[in-house]
């Protein structure tokens, strides 16, 4: 009599083992594609945590964010697939800018010793262009936390992703709170009002469009974009390129970072830059390690 054993494979794998196997499967599917570095993982995870912390505080200041994050770290972040491109784009942009900042040359100090008078910074002296640039800079600085770590401003988040994250956080809080009816209603209201507030907030995309429109009207677009490249002011370049190409800032940042050198003139064509002006950009990107190059599909904003 032959004995038979069901060949169902190993017992149900642990979440850790499953994660390892998924990682291995992804690796085997594209062994030569290159993979995330620890720095890239850490940056993206930190950006995700800061975003979740901010959104939880928007929903209900009583939410135990530490417990929420610990739970999500253990069980996986619910909206991981939708969150990944946003976090990766922000992380890569930060790496690029940080590399530029660290290698940036600086200027010799001025010789003026007096100048104990107030600088000319009156609001009335601001031109429309200066005011739009200032607003862009403020919108950009909202994309950092108080320690200077990269973050995603709520105003810059894709509305669908925002709603998904808010609902995930609310669901977690309700489950932990054993479904208090009053709290459920309050959380529902908070999700709605946070979504509405985001629609009226002006993030970096709106400021980029406003700045771009003023430069177009003044005929300064190409000169300002070329100046931004020379100064390694990548925020301004990305903002102008995004507005000119009618794309989101994050998409354009990722498209530039993942672009082959040959694709840069195409991506930046609306800015009408001469090829020599692109040299510092090309050089800066070339020095950024572990880039996920998009290859032939340069405009697609590939993610890891």
């Amino acid at each position: 009599m032959a004995e038979s054993f069901p060949s169902t494979g190993p017992d149900l794998p642990s979440p850790t083992l499953s994660a390892r196997l998924r990682e291995l499967a992804a690796y085997l599917a594209a062994p030569t594609a290159g993979h995330l570095t620890e720095e890239q993982r850490a940056l993206s995870l930190g950006i995700a945590r800061r975003l979740v912390t901010t959104l939880a505080a928007e929903l209900d200041v009583g939410i135990d964010v530490t417990a929420l994050w610990d739970d999500w770290l253990a069980s996986g972040i619910p909206s991981a697939e939708r969150l990944a491109p946003a976090c990766f784009a922000r992380g890569e942009e930060h790496r690029w800018r940080q590399q530029s900042a660290q290698s940036a040359p600086t200027v010799s100090p001025g010789t003026a010793e007096t100048a104990d008078g107030l600088p000319a910074a009156g609001e009335s002296e601001l031109s429309d262009t200066d005011r739009a640039f200032l607003a862009l800079r403020i919108a950009d600085r909202r994309r950092f936390d108080a320690l200077g770590n990269p973050a995603i401003a709520v105003a810059d988040l894709d509305p669908d992703l925002l709603r998904a994250l808010l609902l995930d956080i609310a669901a977690w809080w309700l489950a932990r709170d054993k479904g208090d009816g009053n709290r459920a209603a309050a959380l529902g209201d908070a999700v709605r009002t946070t979504g509405e507030a985001q629609q009226s907030a002006t993030g970096i995309d709106a400021e980029a469009k406003a700045y771009h429109a003023i430069l177009i009207a003044n005929g300064d677009l190409s000169a300002v974009a070329a100046g931004a490249i020379a100064r390694h002011d990548w925020t301004t370049l990305v903002a102008l390129a995004a507005a000119a190409g009618k794309r989101r800032y994050a998409d354009m940042a990722l498209a530039l970072i993942t672009a082959e050198a040959a694709a840069l003139p195409v991506l930046l064509a609306p800015l009408r830059l001469d090829s020599a002006a692109l040299a510092p950009l090309e050089a800066s990107l070339a020095m950024l390690p572990a880039r996920a190059l998009a290859g032939d599909d340069a405009g697609s904003g590939a993610t890891a």
Binding site: P105, E113, A146, G148, R231, H232
Partner: protein, 458 residues
Amino acid sequence: MSGERIIRGRVDAGGALVSADPSLLRLQQRAGAGLGRPLALPQLARLVALAQRLQRDISRPLYTADDHSDIHALVRIAPDADGATIEISDWRTRPVVMPQTPPVADVGIVPHGWAWECDQHLRVVALRAGAEAPSIPAGWEGRSLSELFELQPDADGRFAVLRALARQASFQGQRVRVEIGGTPLTMTVAGEALFDATGGFTGFRGIAVRDPERTGAAPTSGTIDPAFGSLPLSDPQFGRRIDGALRGPLSRIIATAETIHGQFDGPIRADYARYAGDIAHAGRHLLGLVDDLADLQNIERPGFKAARDEIDLGDLARRAVGLLGMKAEEKGIRIDAPRTDDRMPAYGEFRRVLQVLLNLLGNAIRYSPEQSQIWIRVDREGDRAMVTVADQGQGIATDQQAVVFEKFERLGRTDSGGSGLGLYIARRLARAMDGDLTVDSAPGQGARFTLSLPAREA
């Protein structure tokens, strides 16, 4: 020079520069050579030789110096049968004074303080409160810093922030008054000057800390550091000036000495070439000392705080080995690094931990005998993640282990390989990340330096 986008040159098979755009030719001439002479810029010459040896294109950052400034550029060498073509892009001159722009995270915020940033006209572009700080006033966006903060003059009737603005330099100790919800607060503001890639001043970034609620508080600046006597080490102005005054000349001394040592401009007597090598070596040591002093000034600044990144000590150890592996190979030293699957998740600031590991590994290579071995191991004990660097050097006696982390302590070593600040800085950094740096050694048995940090669950 920055007007030229791509600077080209051509080197023949013998390594002589046969054609060059004016900028490159000027550098070659300042290094004492010219057209038809061997390439006199040591780093560039080495890259050309490497590309020719490998027979493939090489693109690398290039750092060199002329009479007035340091130069940063990206160089691409394309070798062929008759020599090599040089293309230099993103050519940027760094003026002799170099007030290093800090990465954003370098200006650490204290829990009871605000982090702020303003543009070159002192218009505030960022303002954030620490966890225990007073809430920030509404409508700060774009307001003048001097309007948001009511500036208070110092004892001489001057305003540190305005003097810093005139000099485009960093400042500290600016007392200000702020009104929050009708309540006046006194704060002390410090800031670092920011510059873009063309050297243009772009503003300040800094912190504002609420003053203790008592009168007659001692001033925070001008403290005397015992290791430096009366040198005002905590004054960024002083550090910056020393840094700028030394770095440029030292870079030029090193570049010139390396040119002579490498005999790029033709053969010279062997002992003279050796002397030039000694000069370059000593120059690099002094440059390292300037770097260490700049670092020391940074980490000893009040409110210095390292970031809490999620890091992997195994990965960082392998990175350190990657960076210093060549140096070890020159002495025939084998480094036994953690395997690629050896992970040790921890919390710490990525680049600071790498800095500590480079210091430990650099020391191990420097003080290990030739043909010896260095081990790097990662481990975990309870809530501490650890990485240990062990060597087969002469070791350190027990009584000396207590002082090895002191400033300028070099344990009687008189060679020019280190400043005596590296381990002091490394331990300060480790402790700023809630970790520690310890040593375990005995004479003749090598040394084991262990960096421990808060462990992180993978």
